[in-house]
């Protein structure tokens, strides 16, 4: 039991940190510009594909740097040449724009790399057991993922709290016009935030690509979870995004590992349930089978109990 718990906890943390890398960028972009960027998960997918491609051409380590930078440039271009022009037409137009972009990216990726998953396996340089715990080994690439995620969180925190540009960003969250009137280039800051957010999504894509299948449906597989995390954490809150990411990462990993059903719980409590009882099929669903719906259940509960999310400042 302890073994299962420790391994699940480690895997949950790795998954949670990956989710955080994705959501931190999304929530920053949302809180500054009021745009829920539906193409964010697509940039994540592009990061996975680019790292696969560059790893084949120039090796894994350069790819780890090149892919996020390329994603950052793509993000900057999306803001500068797309969103900025759509912005005049209001939020609906912005959302439709990012929504359409997500489809466009999916089709482009399919055209370039095909409909099937590419062989984006863990590179040999980081595919060795880092340490072993209760007989099962913890692979080095997961250690690398954790290290990168944590380094990124520290970087974001320091950049936001300790630098002048971070101050400008924080101020622009609540009063963009005033920040402009004080002589700071707010549109320029928007491009920067979009670029950094997209680069983080790309970075998450590089290391998330090994864990999940690198195929054109990758964006659709991860996108909904990312939005769940953002809403649960509170729109626009970095701290909330971190907590919600870890919460969902760990909960979901544990749920997958639990091989019991409601039926077992009822029986353990001494309540007799037979095949003839109403809802027998429902009781007999194993928690592991229901794991994928855990985040959405949490989302619904959160929206009922506290619509603003864990650390959000305004209601959704």
């Amino acid at each position: 039991m302890l073994e299962l718990a420790t391994v699940s906890l480690l895997n949950g943390i790795v998954y949670g940190l990956l989710l955080f890398m994705l959501t931190s960028g999304l929530t920053l972009i949302f809180s500054m510009m009021g745009v829920l960027n539906f193409a964010h998960a697509s940039v994540f997918m592009v990061g996975a594909y680019l790292s696969y491609q560059f790893a084949r051409w120039v090796g894994f380590w350069p790819a780890l740097v090149i892919a996020p930078l390329a994603c950052g440039l793509i993000g900057a271009a999306i803001e500068r040449y797309g969103l900025r022009h759509v912005h005049k037409s209001g939020h609906v137009a912005e959302i439709l724009f990012t929504f359409g972009l997500a489809y466009l990216i999916e089709e482009l990726v399919t055209m370039i790399w095909g409909r099937n998953a590419v062989a984006n396996s863990v590179p040999a340089v980081i595919d060795f057991p880092l340490f072993s715990l209760f007989g099962s080994s913890f692979p080095a690439y997961k250690g690398l993922m954790m290290a990168i995620s944590i380094a990124m969180f520290v970087f974001l925190y320091v950049a936001l709290k300790r630098t002048r540009i971070g101050l400008v960003i924080q101020a622009a969250l609540t009063h963009p016009q005033m920040v402009g009137a004080l002589g700071h280039d707010v549109p320029g800051i928007f491009v920067l935030v979009f670029a950094v957010g997209s680069a983080l999504a790309g970075l998450a894509g590089v290391i998330g690509g090994f864990m999940l299948l690198t195929q054109p449906t990758l964006a659709n597989a991860i996108g909904p979870i990312v939005f769940v995390v953002v809403v649960i954490g509170g729109l626009g809150s970095l701290g909330g995004a971190l907590i919600a990411s870890m919460l969902i990462g760990i909960l979901q990993t544990f749920a997958v590992a639990i091989d019991y059903s409601l039926l077992d719980a009822l029986r353990a409590a001494g309540i007799a349930v037979t095949r003839a009882s109403p809802l027998y099929d429902f009781y007999s669903i194993k928690v592991a089978t229901a794991a994928p719906i855990v985040p959405y259940v949490l989302l619904v509960l959160m929206l009922i109990v506290r619509p603003r999310g864990l650390m959000g400042k305004r209601d959704v």
Binding site: T174, Q177, A181
Partner: protein, 231 residues
């Protein structure tokens, strides 16, 4: 220093400013008076570039209409909005730091000058801006704009909703700023301090300038006051 000539502005289809012309000279305190809806705030926002201008705005001889707000601010215009726009989650010190436009060029005003002008800011330096009282926020927002070293400071309704003691402090602060040679454009509806400190004034109504003169002339002109100012 500031020359506004035949300025028009629109919110959607409404024609808000209908040909506003006025000037502010070097080191001058000028008031822009009028009732709510006369177009005073819109005039200042249009000068700052947050509302698109139609017409000519010159600052120190350069056309600034059509520039973006941060470019206009960097030319030396300071703007203190009616809602004060304090960054509520940032500390008083951080609010002041954000007023500085460039880290390479040193302005005339330092953080210590601000603390000297209004000592309470030093006491509250590490408190979030959002917890200050209305009057304290007003002092903070003026000081924040000063940190950007403006040559002209435009202040929208600086005394609105303040207790008499705070009004006196705000007035004193504006006079100290003017004494350092900075021009001030002050917008007021209730004439709480404008008449007492301004050199010249304009009265606005229906998006136009309807009177130009000084405080004495305005006091003498009952009809203008009745028609355009008194509520």
């Amino acid at each position: 220093m500031l020359e506004v000539d035949d300025l028009h502005a629109y919110y959607g289809k409404s024609h808000i400013l209908q040909g506003v012309s006025f000037t502010v000279g070097d080191g001058e305190i000028v008031s822009l008076l009028g009732r709510n809806g006369a177009g005073r705030s819109t005039t200042v926002k249009t000068i700052m570039g947050t509302v698109p201008p139609v017409g000519s705005i010159r600052f120190n001889g350069d056309r600034i209409d059509g520039l973006r707000p941060h470019e206009i601010a960097r030319k030396g215009l300071g703007y203190v909005p009616e809602d004060r726009a304090i960054f509520p989650t940032l500390t008083v010190r951080e609010n002041l730091l954000l007023g500085v436009k460039s880290t390479t060029r040193k302005g005339r005003w330092s953080m210590d000058d601000m603390f000297a002008l209004f000592p309470l800011l030093r006491e509250r330096a590490d408190a979030p801006g959002g917890v200050l009282s209305g009057g304290e926020q007003q002092m903070l927002t003026i000081c924040r704009s000063l940190m950007g070293d403006p040559a002209l400071l435009m202040v929208d309704e600086p005394t609105e909703g303040l207790a008499p003691k705070m009004v006196a402090l705000v007035r004193e602060l504006l006079e100290k700023i003017a004494a350092r040679g900075i021009a001030i454009l002050i917008i007021e509806q209730k004439l709480t301090i404008a008449l007492a400190i301004c050199h010249r004034l304009y009265v606005m109504g229906h998006g136009r300038i309807v009177f130009e003169g000084n405080a004495l002339e305005l006091r003498a002109d009952d009809s203008i006051r009745r028609e355009w100012l008194e509520v």
